[in-house]
Amino acid sequence: MTVRQALNVIDESPASAPTPAPASAPAIELSHAARWYGNVVAVNDVSFTLGAGVTGLLGPNGAGKTTLLHMLAGFLAPSAGQVLVLGRSPHRDPSVYRQIGLVPEREAVYPFLTGLDYVRFNARLQGMRNADEAARRTIALVCMDDSMDRAIGTYSKGMRQRIKVAGSLVHDPQVLLLDEPFNGMDPRNRIAMMDLLGTLADQGRTILFSSHILEEVERVGTEILVMVSGRLAASGDFRAIRTLMTDRPHSITVRSSDDRRLATTLMADPAVFAVELTHAGLSVQTAQLSAFRRLLAGASRAAGVRLLEVVPADESLESVFDYLVRR
């Protein structure tokens, strides 16, 4: 059964069909939301709205992604501002979980239950009459059929992630919140899970997942929210933000057989706006990374210089995020 076929089966079940939010109302709405713990501000004045589709919540560790997801899931009250899911506050309102699926970051799942028991447990707590059937169908979606009768305690980290996703999907929620869902998955399952999220979003669901890995977000999320130090640093279409990230000023260290001669050649090109000779080699500043890559190869050949090493000096995700915040 393909993902699409399996999802169509879910959609045919009237008991579990999602109730889409009115077209005009966003499924998720944050308005100046903040959350602090004593003097520590975890989320600071964040506002955005999300409709159907997959949105990636990107940010380095400690950016406030989990706090934000816990607020959306109703497990944390905002210290200020407003958090609405499907038009109402999720805090202290268990009935909202009929329409929300949550995959928490923490790995622990009842180790004594089998995969099938666990997903069926979720279905029964959702009050589903056809809990067994729904559980088996959802397990098939995450390709865990072969292992569903094994105790979760024997699962690998990736398998636990997939069974957690199945548990959160079994009642076919309108809004799906996933905290680092691809952690521990092997590449094949990661791609299958990404495809599954894409298919669910195509059917009108709102999916928000957090990650600190750019490539994960790039593959799944068309929309992106970038959080840094509790603030929303950027939001919008992934490609636009990706371009922003790529075309930011980059610092690159180049070592060659003759740094001084290479510096002279590079300085003549408009893609380079600063070159400095250091004890480690040439420190080159450019705002056009792709153009610089092409330039460097040609310039070294023209100058008769052999390149020994080219190292990006500020390529960590944190530095990318810092740049976005400073803009």
Binding site: A15, G62, H70, G74, L76, P94, L102, Y110, F112
Partner: protein, 249 residues
């Protein structure tokens, strides 16, 4: 959709959580202590109600077995789930919080009653029932004390486990200091002692010849009921306000 269907499901998982631990095996061994003593008494020909009630029921079952078993099950019904984060799978569901508390409390109390009640009944059957009608009534009264005591200890320490991770330590402190020492020295504490509620309730069936039973059966039942309802109400209140930490991200 039937929200009440959640109760047996939560109970099933709670039973598995509580039974799956090594400490349950230790508690079963502990429960064997009054039975072993009853066998020893029987072999030694000491099978009168008074001697049994004082030396086995009061000293072992009431003072050690009941509080230890019930506090462990009560504080463990939620404790591990909160520590490892699995409680989120329970709470991210459209299940009223009172229902979650009720299911957890009934599961933990049932386990405690089963263990302490069975051990007490078996010990009584070995030593007291052969002694005649008084022995049978004394055994029934002792089992009732286990039922009332289990319900009270479980409710109180289940509620406490939602406020602190040290519920078990506090429980053992309560058992040793409050009930073990202070209640002997300060008779007024009887109104605030689960041990006294359990002993008092047993008088509804038979006046056990134990030294410091200070409450009448009616008072004991009323105070036990108040304690159970209040503890579960506070637990529900706390669970409605349960918050997950923000995490490292």
């Amino acid at each position: 959709m039937n929200p009440m269907a959640a109760i047996p499901e939560i109970m099933r998982v709670t039973f598995r959580q509580l039974l799956g631990r090594r400490r349950t095996l230790l508690l079963v061994l502990l429960a064997m202590l009054p039975v072993a003593l009853a066998i020893a008494f029987r072999l030694g020909g000491q099978t009168d109600v008074e001697r049994f009630s004082r030396r086995i029921f009061d000293t072992v079952s009431m003072t050690i077995l009941l509080p230890l078993v019930a506090i462990l099950f009560g504080s463990g019904a939620f404790g591990a789930e909160i520590d490892d984060g699995t409680v989120v799978y329970l709470l991210a569901k459209p299940v009223p919080r009172w229902m979650v508390i009720a299911a957890k409390a009934v599961s933990a109390a049932a386990m405690a009653i089963l263990l302490t009640g069975a051990a007490t009944a078996l010990a009584g059957w070995i030593d007291l029932v052969p002694a005649g009608n008084d022995g049978l009534l004394a055994t029934e009264a002792q089992v009732l004390a286990m039922v009332v005591g289990s319900a009270c200890y479980v409710s109180l320490f289940l509620a406490l486990s939602l406020f602190t991770r040290r519920a078990l330590v506090i429980g053992i402190g309560y058992m040793l200091v409050w009930e073990g020492a202070l209640s002997f020295m300060l008779p007024g504490i009887a109104n605030l002692s689960i041990r006294q509620y359990a002993l008092g309730a047993s008088a509804a069936i038979y006046q056990l010849p134990v030294q410091e039973a200070r409450l009448s059966a009616d008072t004991a039942f009323i105070l036990s009921g108040v304690l159970v309802v209040a503890a579960l109400a506070v637990a529900t209140w706390k669970l409605m306000r349960f918050e997950l930490p923000g995490g490292s991200d």
